[in-house]
Amino acid sequence: MSQLRYEAPGSVDEAVALLASDSDAKVLAGGTDLIVQMRSGLRKLGLVVDVKKIDELMSVSSDGGAWTIGAAVSGAEMNENAALKKDWPGVVEAVDLIGSTQVQGRASAGGNLCNASPAADSVPAMVAAGATAVIAGPNGRREVPVEQVPVSPGKTSLATGEMVVAIKMPAKPARNGEAYLRMIPRTEMDIAIVGAGVSLTLDDGGTCTAAKVALGAVAPTVVIVDDAAKALIGTKVDDAALEKMAAACSAACKPIDDKRGTIEYRTKVAGVMARRAALIALERARSN
């Protein structure tokens, strides 16, 4: 019978040392992916490193408007942080979409990112909002845009011994709004067939000066659609601009046919979700 070792270190350094000691070791945050995978026999592990005893991974702080969210902070905790929610409602709502009330008590944005599912809900929202991941490893710390963490379904760019310590959100730009929407066949407890995160910034005249559009579940990893952003920048985000943006989103999709949706459907609906998310982002930008 296989033996499973469980460790719950109190510091990032100890966690990194443990992770570096075993190439099959895995970080345990909320466990809502990891434990499910272990139970269903998809993963056989020798060492599990629970990071919930490390303060840095479990706390949220803001400094000069910029946010640092511990990688293992639960969705429920993020959702109850009014100031964070006010700054980045799209990201918080995306995290809040994960699972049910029970799952929310555990599931983290860090886990959602590092599980590297193409359908992870918080990822397109974080990408659109310009979030970065702080990574600690045997050679110290580095910070990368979140989109550089997942590299293919189930795989990350993290080297042996590395872990995500925190997600950083920039200081909220003036007149910026962001939003995330997903398409699922049920109303909850489902996996995105398509997800779209949109962030846009307006000038005083209401013209879009910056935008970022990211799609989930339409390719092996999150897709940043530059053409969609370009379609919005310099416009008043009117119907014509939104149509162009939606078309760019559909064009950028490289989805697969699977039990959850067809290529044709995902491609069509990606544009629809992006347009609807852009309208919410626009509303938020106008009131910021």
Binding site: M1, P185, R186, E188, Y265, V269, V272
Partner: protein, 752 residues
Amino acid sequence: MAVEADAPRMEFDVVGHRRVRPDGVDKVTGRARFGADISAPGMLTAKILRSPHAHARINSIDTSKAEAMVGVHAVVTSADFPDEHVPRGERDTLVNVMAREKAFYDGHAVAAVAAMDAETAQDALELIVVDYEVLPHVTDVVAAMAPDAPVLHDTLFTRGVDPKPDKPSNVAKRVEMGRGDVEAGFAEADIVIERTFRTEATHQGYIEPHACLANIGADGRGEIWVCTQGHYMIRNTVAALLGIELSKLRVTASEIGGGFGGKTTVFAEPVAAALSRKAGLPVKLVMDRTEVFRATGPTSSTAAWVKIGVKNDGTITAGDIELKYQGGAFRGSPIDFGCMSAFACYDIDNIRMVGWDVVCNRPKQAAYRAPGAPMSTFVVESVVQELAERIGMDPVDMRLKNAARNGSDSAYGPKFGTIGLVETLEAAKAHANYTAPLGANQGRGIACGFWFNFGGETCTSLNVQTDGTVALMVGTPDIGGSRASMCMMAAEELGIEYERVHAIVGDTTSLGYNDTTEGSRVTFSSGMATIKSARAAIEVMRARAAMIWEIPVDAVVWEKGHAKPAGPNAGDFEPMSLADIAAKSGATGGPIAGHAEVNADGAGVSFATHLVDVEVDPETGAVKVLRYTVAQDAGKAIHPGYVVGQFQGGAAQGIGWALNEEYVYDDMGRLQNAGFLDYRVPVASDLPNIDTVIVEVPNTGHPYGVRGVGETSIVPPLAAIANAVSAAAGVRLTDLPMSPPKVLAAIDAQKD
């Protein structure tokens, strides 16, 4: 037993009120024991090895390494299930329980292990070497009927065709029924619509997986504790498959976390029993959810063609339907019920129903609430709705015009007695849902449905205790609150408070044979037996009072829980309560009891009309159910709360079936969505409040007028929702489930 001569009782003290369910406290506190909640000393854990192939010849199975493993006590394969003594009718069950020469579907059991713990059993499974020769497979009902389809059984020759085929095929049988002349009927029609339809297989989706504990001793006597809808069925089948005498096998039904028809057959129980017999120790076998999806349940997937004609005044002149139902790897899809129920709501002169029972490489279908009826009703009620639209007639009025009524000849033969279809249609029309305003992209659907209902063999036993309480034993597992309803009927008949009657489900040695809890039969037939048991006990109590008073028994009547002198001539005695008589029973002849054994007839069919409003998102194809109303005839609602629960539950399962539930196979014939994440039953937020109207047209075949209500409620939803979605989307949807991609594709195709 004949239909009761007396008209059903109409006045009640207990019946018709909502009472606290006796099993409630145990269920909310966790004290209730379900299938997996029991253990025995020395118990082993069993695991089943399942075929990863949809269709494969099993050349050999090498279990030697598994058997040699420390902690493994027994390994079984088909070699441990000899078939010589197994009755012909049970052979398919035997093959389904453990594959023999071939594995017929992804998930088909090929071997099983009993070991000291689950990990050991799991590790042992991985040491079993099966040499498979993978064969071409087929999972689609229409493809399975093609002349060049891979044939599952070389012994299967189509029944019901002339001439008899000389080659085996996947078509188990053809049935045809009907009356009149459909061609002449179509000639009379002003409008005729012809369409084809498809439905996917759906699983019953019970929350509790199959679980049992089997303990077969060296002397051949055994016990099984099991989560099932029918412990007598478990006893009889396990006994037949393993060659055990009925009286040597005692089966106890656990509390049950849902069945919906899916627990009316055996899956794991014979395997656990065979392992226990081989190991000489108790064996517990609990399926996981993946196994439940791959190897148990579901209902048939279907393909259908229909043609219906109507006159401009709304009279349906003819209906012609052809249904193809696949029943998984073995014969026995519910094709007969599909055909018989297709036009059952209507009194049409010319009808023809042709059905095909087809096998393919999927798990053997099991009963699912009103087996076969929802699919054929979907077909007929979709076209009836369309015809009403085409002639510009209100869809309820058109249905009323053609509705089956008291004394109509049913579409499947016998004359209907007193029935309540018209009343359900009128209730739907009168409901606020029928006239609620609809917005953009919203649509309303309506559909009727029918189910036969069943009576069957039933026994109950009722013991009057010396403290004046009553212990009732029934033989039908309680899957919908039936113990409460039984206590209510016993209390009503005895004239005592509901709280003084306590019911249990007896084991197979404690009562005579009982048919399974299926066919919406329990409140009807166990209710009838309970009433008869109570009446028998009353006879005894009257006799005891007569003995005490020293008057003839004819001079004693039973009223409101008391024995009383029949009149002034009988004598002047203080009435004696049930408790008084019970307290003296030791001195007056011993324990007081009543029992009844019946083969209940006169179940009384049940009809329903469902109304539903939906909104379709034209850009994503997503469907939101806005309002839902069920009007159904219950005959007499013994416990209105549970009747409402059955109505709502059928509608909820129908919503899942109509919108998102489906079996998804890859091109290797492997099930892709064997879990609740991707097999999408509705979650609470997917459902609106489901409003209900209990229509009560008493069933003359039951002393209180009861009709079964458990199944009819899943018959109309597929059509009602398809009608609503079609109205909202502006295009007719004919392919279930109406998942967002399919609805969007239909909308887009309409635009082009």
